[in-house]
Every structure is written in structure tokens, then in C-alpha cells.
């Protein structure tokens, strides 16, 4: 067991290193660099700009050096705990990400909670009352949630929040709470803003989870031990909840590893549309302007989180499900 874990950790490190190379290269692939998008941004805003000035800036930012050199500088800094400076924000990358990490996790957790709170009861109900009206209604709603693009849902919900509830739209805080220290009022204000992102981000995942849970539970419920338990007089709900549900929850555990990176990266567009101050929004801006250190660090962070998350969920599965054996090499 220990050898298995150590082996997996070593592989994880190697994977993260490869991810760092790939992410850095891909970010540099589009023609031009940060300064080209800087000029273009200014031109698009209607602001004239001087190309000659930009040539000087290129030299100043070190963008005229070859890519392998820039990569090695980045890795070298990383090993010292520095992730470079964002060209667009003119601040250290670690500061930018650190500021937003807490709120990113909050939004992600809210979405995940929404997903599980909705998906688990509905999934169980759908399986137990298969082919009932309730089952069809939930299935229908689930698929609609899956089919609507999340940014569209975000825009629609935002408009209704404004039109029906006269709520302050976008962002996680009303203007009066934005840079205040934490207080009960601020927390309540955040919850008032959190419902739109939670619903939008959670809907697609909810539909997926409902279907998976339903399918697995249906399989389990046909098994002889369940039939025996019912025959022996156990009530339906007790028979289902006691054991089959636990088995059906297995896939949920194995996807835990993907949840955090999924919600962060899946929320990039939604974060931009809703103006949420999360890491996802930072990533989109960095990618569009080819702000390579910021974009590279965030992509690396997501990759690392996925790898670690997968590792953790594998270990978790081994722990909770005694049926899994490791035969020979992992």
C-alpha cells in the first residue's frame, strides 16, 4: 500500500513537470506576445498607440528573449517560491492568485454543495420511482440544465435578478461591501450574490450526477440481496438507503478529484460574465492577453490540482471500497 502511494506520488511529480512545459509552450503558441495584445486592446478601446513605444517595452519586459530561456527563468523562480510578475497587472503573480483563492474556493464549494444537495435526493428518487411522473419531470429538467450554455443561463438569471428583485448584479458583493473587512453583513451580502453562480455552475454537473446515480442505483436494486431484503420485510427506503446508495455513491467519490479544477476552469466564462473575482476570470484575461507568467502559473496550478485530486480520490476509493485490490503494478 505504501509502495503504491509513493509510486503514485513520484508519477504525479513527473506529470506536473510535463504539464508546466506544455502549458508554457501552448500559451506562447499564438502569434505575437503580450505587447501585441496590449496594442490591440488599446486600439479596440479607441485609444491610439505608438508602435515605437511598444518596441521599447518589448525589450524591457524581456519578451525579446527566446522561449526556452523564458521558461527556465520561470521554473528557476518557481523553485524559489516566486511565480513571476503579471505584465498586465504589474504585480507579482502569487499575490494576484492568493487574493482570489479564498473566494474561488467559496464559489466552487457553493456550486458543489448545490450539485450534491440537488443531485443525490433527486437521483435516488428517480431510481426508486422509476418511470413515474416525478422521474420524467426531473429527467427533463436535468437535461435542460445540461443543454443550456452556462453563460446564457448566467445572463438570463442576472437580468431577472435585476428586473424582479432589483438586486445588484454581477460580482460577489454589493458596491458598499467590496473592500470592507469581513462582518455578518458582508457574509449575508455575499450569500445574496452567491445563488446565481451556484445555480449556473451547478446545473450541468447536477444533471450528470443525477443520471449516474440513477443508473447505478437501478443496477444495484435489481441485485438478489436487495430483493431478499425486501422479501424479508425491510421497507423500500430502508433497503435502498442502507446499502445500495452507498455503492452507487462510489463514482461520486472517484470524481471528487476532478471537482475543484472542473469548477474553477468550467467557471471561467461564467466568472467573466458575472464579474466574479475568481481565479478563472484571471485566467481568461491572462490567456487573451498572453500574460504568460500569470497564465502559465494558473494553468500549472489547475494541472497540479487535478493530478493531486486524482491521487487523493484513488487513495480514498481504496480506503472506502474493500473490493478494490491492487494486483501487481498500479
Amino acid at each position: 500500500m505504501l509502495a503504491y502511494i509513493v509510486h503514485r506520488i513520484l508519477l504525479a511529480c513527473l506529470t506536473i513537470a510535463v504539464i508546466s512545459v506544455i502549458s508554457f509552450v501552448i500559451i506562447q503558441l499564438p502569434p505575437g506576445d503580450y505587447l501585441d495584445s496590449y496594442i490591440a486592446t488599446l486600439e479596440a478601446q479607441g485609444d491610439p498607440v505608438s508602435d515605437l513605444q511598444v518596441a521599447g517595452l518589448r525589450k524591457q519586459y524581456g519578451l525579446d528573449r527566446p522561449m526556452p530561456v523564458q521558461y527556465l527563468i520561470w521554473v528557476g523562480n518557481m523553485l524559489q517560491g516566486e511565480f513571476g510578475v503579471s505584465l498586465e497587472w504589474n504585480r507579482p503573480v502569487s499575490q494576484l492568485i492568493g487574493e482570489r483563492l479564498f473566494l474561488t474556493v467559496v464559489v466552487a464549494l457553493a456550486a458543489v454543495l448545490f450539485m450534491w444537495i440537488m443531485a443525490i435526493p433527486i437521483g435516488i428518487y428517480s431510481a426508486v420511482r422509476q418511470r413515474s411522473i416525478g422521474d420524467y419531470v426531473f429527467t427533463f429538467v436535468g437535461f435542460i440544465g445540461l443543454a443550456i450554455p452556462d453563460f446564457l443561463l448566467a445572463l438570463v438569471l442576472m437580468y431577472f435578478a435585476f428586473a424582479w428583485f432589483d438586486a445588484s448584479v454581477g460580482g460577489l458583493f454589493s458596491p458598499e461591501y467590496i473592500d470592507q473587512p469581513w462582518s455578518f453583513g458582508r457574509a449575508v451580502d455575499m450569500l445574496k450574490h452567491l445563488w446565481v453562480p451556484a445555480i449556473v455552475l451547478g446545473t450541468a454537473g447536477t444533471a450528470q450526477l443525477i443520471r449516474i446515480l440513477r443508473a447505478n442505483l437501478l443496477d444495484e436494486m435489481r441485485k438478489p440481496y436487495v430483493v431478499t431484503a425486501r422479501a424479508k420485510g425491510l421497507s423500500l427506503w430502508r433497503a435502498v438507503l442502507k446499502y445500495p446508495v452507498r455503492v452507487a455513491l462510489n463514482p461520486l467519490v472517484s470524481t471528487i478529484g476532478y471537482i475543484l479544477p472542473f469548477v474553477i476552469s468550467g467557471s471561467v466564462i461564467v466568472s467573466v460574465v458575472l464579474s466574479l473575482p475568481t481565479v478563472g476570470q484571471l485566467l481568461l484575461g491572462a490567456l487573451m492577453s498572453q500574460d504568460m507568467y500569470l497564465a502559465g502559473t494558473i494553468v500549472l496550478l489547475l494541472g497540479a490540482m487535478t493530478v493531486i485530486g486524482t491521487l487523493l480520490s484513488d487513495i480514498l476509493l481504496v480506503v472506502i471500497d474493500p473490493r478494490i485490490r491492487m494486483d501487481g503494478a498500479a
Binding site: 490591440a40 486600439e43 479607441g46 491610439p48 515605437l52 458575472l274
Partner: protein
């Protein structure tokens, strides 16, 4: 007409019925007498007044009294409506750290500036100026007693410091600003005395004043971040400059902040939007930087302007900008009435919803029409060379005329511009000094597809394929590409589709390519475009903003290779002949002439454009670019109409320091 356009028109007509009143429709130029002027010849007030919070600080001994703070020669700004009241926080929106111009324009700390008519130069930081007869020497007189926001005196030394220690320093400013050059040589900035600065050039440079007043030179807020501002707080910046402190100490400080070079570190500290510590002379100074979710500025207690009654400006205490990453969120907030005065990033397409909510949101909507030659120009690449047949047609004047007269400009005006623009040719607005005459307004801009067909048949494109598209000499279908930038300020994609449709009706196949901004810029400079779409804001000032009318650099869309030739002084690119050469010659000749003599040259430049259609105009004079202004009803002293152009830096041109809250 295609169903899409019909549907579009119906929706817009429905929207228009909501808009209703014609009072907001932009008129053509107003008579000069009705435009407010910020020139003031009245007497200097003897009593002064200040904002209550400043008076309290004076009482506590934290600030010197008002008369000392504004100096003995403050600028007097006559307000547009009435004398204002102190107080209030101006709420606005911004889209991130690259949205500098949002605040630059509000601060407009230029040395001299334009009056509200967009034509007359008036004193701003400098109280007056002199120009030598030969146009080579410009002397600016500063205000006695004027101070930086930390109380330190503002003198000619700050100009010399900016010139010698920043602009001339090759590590800070590797490429010297073009505005400082006349005839290829750098001018010299010198101090005559504490309150007199002199700029001396090798060759006559009359247009320097117009450049100095507008965006090209601007002030500390706009250009400190690249080191080319005309003045800088010497007393503060010396601590970051290797000419004044030990180089090694400096390098160590730089390493600690995680930056790479001392120049990056220095420039970060010169930028008021990033650094709240740096002294400024703008009406408001940064409290919370532009890299936060909320960008906040507060009044500058040493601001050197007053109203005619002696009240120190600005009236408004604070500016608070809220971050919005997405334009839809920003516009939704504006619709809700969350902003006190906002025009930047407000989308023309949202006007029906804005008007529908104006009573609930308690705001009014103003239109400030753009001044560029056209809101959306079709740039025909004259130096394209990859495919000789296509190059031949792009370079054929009759072909361009045919393209121009097959465009249904009225339809584009209705669908894209909501009827707020004016269909016209590519030409400066009627109140520009270089306006050649109304006969050129609609030249080659009528809608005459029959005539276009006749022209195309005549010039050799008479062979058509089964689908009705004209064929090249080799029998293949002639296909031109039209490049439109996605996610730009105007719906270029929509306009491109409409144009492609218009041109397919006369048998010219045009394929629309949507390009991301940076890619579009790169493809333009590498001479790959056939036709491109872009706005031409700034083109009304031929000499202060030439990239849309004169091929001076490789990003000029209608002749990138000519621009490359000019920019590199003949090393690369293609030497121009004919009309392109005349444009460059006229441009350089005009640079040496005073405005009175330059007007005739300007007429000739516009005549060349009218004759040749290098840039085909579609719709002009609309408020699409930053021209839709949402103002709360209690926010006063905002002009109903103001010049809308990047060069003039609206809304700064409306003197934001005299805006106030009336409650």
C-alpha cells in the same frame, strides 16, 4: 432584402418607438456661439473658498490655507450651468488595469488644452505661451505658487527632469516619443527661469502646440507609465533613479519586489494609477490603485483651479470605480442607475433599454457624436502583393468606386447604429478646420447597385459563374477577404456581414474573416489583408493623429508597406508613388506650417481621399464609440453635447472638475 435585416429593422423600429423624442438625435454642427467656452477674462476673485473637509484640515493645522495652496495665478474655470456645491462620490465602472484611458481622460492634466469647441487652444497647467516667428521655439509660462499634491512647488525643474532623466534615459524610454522630434531630430527642453519652460526644435514645428494639447503628449496621468510625460515630480522620483541613488541599492530593492529591471520598478512608481504615493497635479489623486476591485481617487487639496466665485475645484470629493470584467454586466449596472456619469464602455445597442429605464433609474441619456471621418471605414489595402490579380483590383479606382456605391448605408445606419449616425463618405466633420466642402459629403456614397454593376462590367469583370459571382482572368471566382475584429467596440462582424451581402448583389464575392484583435493587428502589419474594417476616430486631426489618413507606419491599414517604408526611412517596405506619395509629402509640408496656412493643405489631403477611396466611409458622426453618456439627474454641469474623440480626451474636455452633485 434578407430576412435577417428585415427582422433587425423591425426590432429596431419597435425599440425606436420607445426612444421617441427627437431631442436626443445628434444634430449636425451647432453654431459656434451656442457652445460654452472655458475661456475666462473676468477679474481674479479676492476671496477663496474650499471644500468643508479641507477647511477642517486647515483648522487642524494639517494643510496651509487656501490662498497658499492654489498659488497666486490659479486657472479660473467658468462652469457650464452654474456654480456647484462641494461633496459627493462619483461612481463609475472600469474594466481592469488596462483601462487606463478611463481615468486618464477624467484627470486631463495636460499642460495646455482644448476648449469645449474642440478647436481653440486654451491655457491649462501653463497660463500662457509664446511661439517664435519661425515656429521653432515654444515658451510656456507656468503659474506662480502652483504646487504638487504634496505641497511641493511645481516648477520648470519638473519639466527639465522629465526630459533629461526620463525621456533621454535609454533604459527607461528606449524609443523616443515622435512628438518630440521635428525633422528627425529631438527637440531640447530647457529652463528659462523657475516658471518658464522652453522647447526648441531644429525645424519649424507649428503643429507642436496641437499635439501638446491633445492625447499625443497629454500629461502625467496618461504617459507617466511609459516615461514620456512632459513633466514629472522630480523631488519624489529621485529616490528611484540611478542617477541620484546608489545603483546596487536600487537593484536590491527591485529584487525584493519581484520585478526584473530597475526601469520596470521605476515606471511602476511613476504611474499615479498604480502608486498612491506619487504627487500629482490632477484634480483627484489615487487612494486605491487601478489593480484593485475598486479603484478610488480623492480630491487633490492643492489643485490649482477655481470657479469665477473663488471656490477651489473640484467640487466632487471622490471618484469610485467599480470593476466589471464583462461589458454586459457593466451595461446592466448602468441601466440600473448605479453610475453617476458613465459613457465609456456603454454600448449603443443598449440604448433602447437605457431609455426605457431612465425614469426608474433617475438618469438621462446624452449622445456625443464621434468626430472621426467615419465610424466604420473599409480600408482597401493598396500595397497588397501576394496575389497579383487581387492586388490589381484592390488598386483599381473604379473597382473601389463600384464597391462604395453598392453599399446600403441607410440599412447599416438603422441596424447597427440605431439610426443615430449619418450615412456619408469618409470625410472630416463639417466643423473641422480642414473640411473641404459639403460637395464631398456624399461623393460616391449613394446607393446605386445598377451603376456599380455597369462599372464592374466595364472594367473587365463581366464574366460570371453560375451563382452570379464575377470571375477573375483565369476563370476562377474572384474572392476578396474582409477582416473584422471580434469583440471590439463596434459590431464590426455585423457590419461585415451586411457589406458582404451588399457586394454579393453586384456579383462580388467577399468572405468575412473574424479575427481576434492581436491577430488582426499582426496580419495588417504583415500586409496580408485585402479589406479590413475599423473605426477612424482621431482622423479629424490630420496632423495630430494621421494613421487613418496618411501612411506613416506599418499599421496603417490602407497601405502598410508604404507605412513601413516611411517608418524605416526607406530600409524596408515599398516606396510610394502617385497619390500615396502625395499624401506623405502634403503631410510633412503641413507639419511646418502654422494652422492658417495648413488649412489649404488639409483640404488637399481630404480631396485625395475623396478621389481615391482608399478608405471607404459608411456611417459617420454617431455616438457608437464612447458617445452614449448616462448621467444621473442630480449630476450637473455636463454639456449636452461635447466633442467625442480620443485626441481631445472627452470627457476631460468638458472639465470634469466643474461637475457637481446637486442635492
Amino acid at each position: 432584402m434578407n430576412g435577417k435585416l428585415i427582422a433587425g429593422r423591425l426590432i429596431l423600429l419597435a425599440g425606436f418607438s420607445v426612444i421617441g423624442t427627437a431631442s436626443d438625435a445628434p444634430a449636425s454642427s451647432e453654431p459656434a456661439s451656442s457652445v460654452h467656452s472655458f475661456k475666462y477674462d473676468g477679474p481674479m476673485p479676492t476671496k477663496f473658498d474650499e471644500a468643508p473637509e479641507l477647511a477642517a484640515r486647515v483648522a487642524r493645522g494639517e494643510l496651509p490655507p487656501i490662498a497658499e495652496r492654489i498659488g497666486s495665478e490659479p486657472l479660473i474655470i467658468p462652469p457650464i450651468e452654474r456654480i456647484g456645491k462641494y461633496g459627493g462620490t462619483w461612481r463609475r465602472a472600469f474594466t481592469g488595469p488596462v483601462d487606463y484611458q478611463n481615468i486618464d481622460r477624467i484627470l486631463h492634466d495636460h499642460v495646455i488644452y482644448y476648449d469645449l469647441d474642440g478647436l481653440t487652444l486654451v491655457p491649462h497647467i501653463a497660463k500662457s505661451w509664446d511661439v517664435s516667428d519661425d515656429g521653432r521655439v515654444f515658451t510656456f509660462h507656468l503659474r506662480k505658487g502652483m504646487k504638487w499634491s504634496d505641497g511641493h512647488p511645481f516648477t520648470a525643474d519638473d519639466f527639465v527632469f522629465a526630459y533629461e532623466k526620463l525621456i533621454l534615459n535609454d533604459e527607461l524610454v528606449p524609443v523616443k516619443p515622435t512628438w518630440l522630434r521635428s525633422g528627425g531630430e529631438l527637440g531640447v527642453v530647457s529652463k528659462v527661469d523657475n516658471h518658464t519652460v522652453r522647447y526648441s526644435f531644429a525645424r519649424p514645428y507649428h503643429v507642436f502646440l496641437e499635439k501638446y494639447a491633445g492625447l499625443l503628449v497629454a500629461g502625467q496621468s496618461t504617459f507617466a507609465r511609459v516615461g514620456t510625460a512632459p513633466y514629472a515630480p522630480a523631488h519624489y522620483l529621485k529616490q528611484f533613479h540611478p542617477d541620484f541613488v546608489d545603483r546596487d541599492d536600487l537593484e536590491r530593492l527591485v529584487k525584493e519586489t519581484g520585478l526584473n529591471t530597475w526601469s520596470q520598478y521605476f515606471l511602476q512608481h511613476t504611474t499615479p494609477q498604480h502608486n498612491p504615493q506619487i504627487p500629482v497635479v490632477a484634480p483627484w489623486k489615487t487612494v486605491q490603485p487601478i489593480t484593485s476591485q475598486r479603484f478610488v481617487l480623492e480630491r487633490n487639496p492643492y489643485y490649482w483651479a477655481i470657479d469665477p466665485q473663488g471656490n477651489q475645484l473640484p467640487y466632487i470629493d471622490r471618484i469610485a470605480m467599480q470593476f466589471a470584467s464583462d461589458l454586459d454586466v457593466l451595461n446592466l449596472r448602468a441601466i440600473k442607475g448605479e453610475f453617476d456619469m458613465q459613457h465609456r464602455h456603454i454600448q449603443l445597442a443598449k440604448v433602447p433599454v437605457l431609455k426605457a429605464n431612465q425614469h426608474k433609474g433617475n438618469y438621462r441619456v446624452l449622445f456625443w457624436p464621434g468626430l472621426g471621418g467615419t465610424e466604420c471605414g473599409i480600408f482597401v489595402n493598396q500595397t497588397y502583393d501576394e496575389d497579383p490579380e487581387i492586388a490589381r483590383w484592390l488598386g483599381n479606382r473604379d473597382f473601389r468606386i463600384a464597391l462604395s456605391i453598392s453599399i446600403d448605408r441607410e440599412a447599416i445606419n438603422e441596424t447597427i447604429f440605431l439610426g443615430t449616425g449619418t450615412p456619408r463618405a469618409f470625410l472630416c466633420p463639417p466643423n473641422s478646420p480642414y473640411y473641404p466642402g459639403p460637395e464631398l459629403e456624399h461623393r460616391y456614397a449613394q446607393f446605386d447597385p445598377a451603376k456599380a454593376n455597369a462599372i464592374l462590367d466595364r472594367i473587365g469583370l463581366d464574366q460570371k459563374d453560375a451563382a452570379g459571382f464575377r470571375l477573375r482572368a483565369d476563370g476562377r471566382r474572384l474572392v476578396l477577404s474582409l477582416a473584422a475584429v471580434s469583440a471590439a467596440f463596434l459590431d464590426f462582424t455585423g457590419i461585415a456581414e451586411a457589406l458582404a451581402e451588399n457586394w454579393s448583389k453586384v456579383g462580388v464575392k467577399v468572405s468575412v474573416t473574424i479575427e481576434q484583435r492581436a491577430l488582426h493587428s499582426i496580419r495588417t502589419r504583415s500586409n496580408q489583408q485585402h479589406l479590413s474594417l475599423w473605426g477612424t476616430g482621431g482622423s479629424e486631426n490630420l496632423w495630430t493623429y494621421p494613421p487613418f489618413t496618411v501612411p506613416i507606419s506599418d499599421s496603417v491599414k490602407f497601405a502598410p508597406q508604404t507605412g513601413a517604408w516611411h517608418q524605416s526611412q526607406g530600409q524596408t517596405g515599398l516606396e510610394p508613388t502617385g497619390a500615396l506619395k502625395r499624401l506623405l509629402d502634403l503631410f510633412h509640408h503641413g507639419e511646418t506650417l502654422p494652422l492658417g496656412q495648413r488649412i489649404a493643405v488639409g483640404h488637399q489631403i481630404w480631396q485625395i481621399h475623396s478621389d481615391n477611396l482608399f478608405v471607404i466611409g459608411t456611417v459617420g458622426l454617431s455616438p457608437a464609440f464612447n458617445g452614449v453618456v448616462v448621467v444621473k439627474n442630480n449630476f450637473r454641469n455636463v454639456p449636452t453635447r461635447a466633442p467625442n474623440s480620443a485626441t481631445l480626451q472627452n470627457p476631460g474636455i468638458a472639465r470634469t472638475e466643474q461637475f457637481f452633485f446637486d442635492d
